[in-house]
């Protein structure tokens, strides 16, 4: 891929090849796990993914011109708030009353 992509697209082509190679590794690893009879549950991955997406969207829309320390601190606070809210919404009841493993 590098041989094809780099002459035409330069460093973006090289990075694309790297990202696609990493994606291929992930697919092959999942296939290998499936052959071992192990299929990981995907539902627990929804909350952190959605919380990160919400944080990124808010930072992208509202926080583009913030100073870097504010962006980092704000991003951490946004992620924590989004995660806690989503966790409560999906399971019902406050996070702290049910323990971490719920």
């Amino acid at each position: 891929m590098n041989l094809v992509a780099i002459p035409q697209y330069g460093i973006v082509g090289a990075a694309t090849a790297t990202a696609l190679a990493e994606g291929t590794i992930m697919v092959l690893a999942l296939v290998a796990m499936g052959r071992l009879g192990v299929h990981p549950a995907l539902r627990p991955l929804i909350t952190p993914t959605a919380a990160a997406a919400i944080m990124a969207a808010i930072l992208l829309v509202a926080g583009r011109e913030w100073a870097l320390p504010v962006q980092i601190a704000g991003g951490a606070a946004l992620y924590a708030a989004a995660f806690a809210t989503l966790h409560m919404t999906r399971r019902g009841g406050p996070l702290w009353s049910r323990g971490w493993s719920d």
Partner: protein, 233 residues
């Protein structure tokens, strides 16, 4: 001079060979292993700050690195009896199987390193040196994210070994938990980095060069690669 730097850098192989971090990781004593690594880095930084004053002192850098790593390895070695761990008797059959297994892993690591290096080499032939520098800088920045993800994965390895004997269902639960924990840490780091470092104007100030703007797509793609490292089984 550079020949001596390479020669002295080879001392790190000695500290690597003596380093029993793998025992601590296998026994799920990650805190001790991490503390030793921090000790090594601290010693290295202090030694470099104290001993390296001029360009002529460059030979002292690999020696300082070796001293820090070896001190940490020695601390971990002396701590092994406290864990009740004794050196096992030689079991050649087991050793041979481990060597074969490690051989495949080593081959894949070497191949991976060659491939990762190959794109930089190829870029060196085909684009300007400044672009190669920006590409490498973006990769180095994302390497931090990948290292965090790798550390989380490594912490789960002994647990996987333990539950593997309990069957596919237990392994599935453990894998799901590991993925959740990795994503819990990795997803905000990757998403936040993509937005902050590649999407806003403050990243230019942070990284100190307006040329960084040209690297934003590269950085985003590397972030995706880092996310893969965070979540892949």
């Amino acid at each position: 001079m550079s020949g001596w730097v390479v020669f002295l850098s080879g001392l790190s192989f000695l500290s690597l060979a003596a380093d029993p971090t793998w025992v601590y990781k296998g026994l799920e004593r990650g805190v001790s292993a991490a503390a030793a690594q921090v000790l090594a880095q601290l010693l290295y930084v202090v030694a470099v700050a104290a001993l390296v004053q001029t360009p002529e002192d460059v030979l002292r850098v690999p020696v300082a690195q070796f001293a820090g790593e070896f001190a940490a390895a020695a601390a971990l070695l002396f701590g092994l009896p406290l864990l009740g761990w004794r050196w096992p008797r030689a079991a050649w059959g087991l050793g041979r199987r481990l060597l074969v297994s490690a051989g495949f892993l080593t081959a894949s690591r070497v191949l991976r390193t060659l491939i990762v290096t190959f794109d930089v080499v190829l870029l060196g032939f085909m684009v300007a040196a400044s672009e190669v520098g920006l590409y490498t800088a973006a990769y180095r920045f994302c390497f931090l994210l990948m290292a965090i993800a790798g550390a989380v994965s490594a912490a789960y390895l002994p647990a996987f070994t333990r539950v593997a004997a309990e069957g596919a269902e237990a392994l599935r639960d453990q894998l799901s938990e590991a993925l959740r924990m990795s994503l819990l840490i990795g997803a905000p780091l990757v998403a936040g980095s993509m937005v902050i470092a590649a999407g806003s104007s403050s990243s230019t100030t942070f990284l100190g060069t307006p040329s960084w703007c040209c690297t934003k797509p590269v950085y985003r793609l590397f972030c995706m690669a880092a996310l893969r490292r965070s979540t892949s089984p």
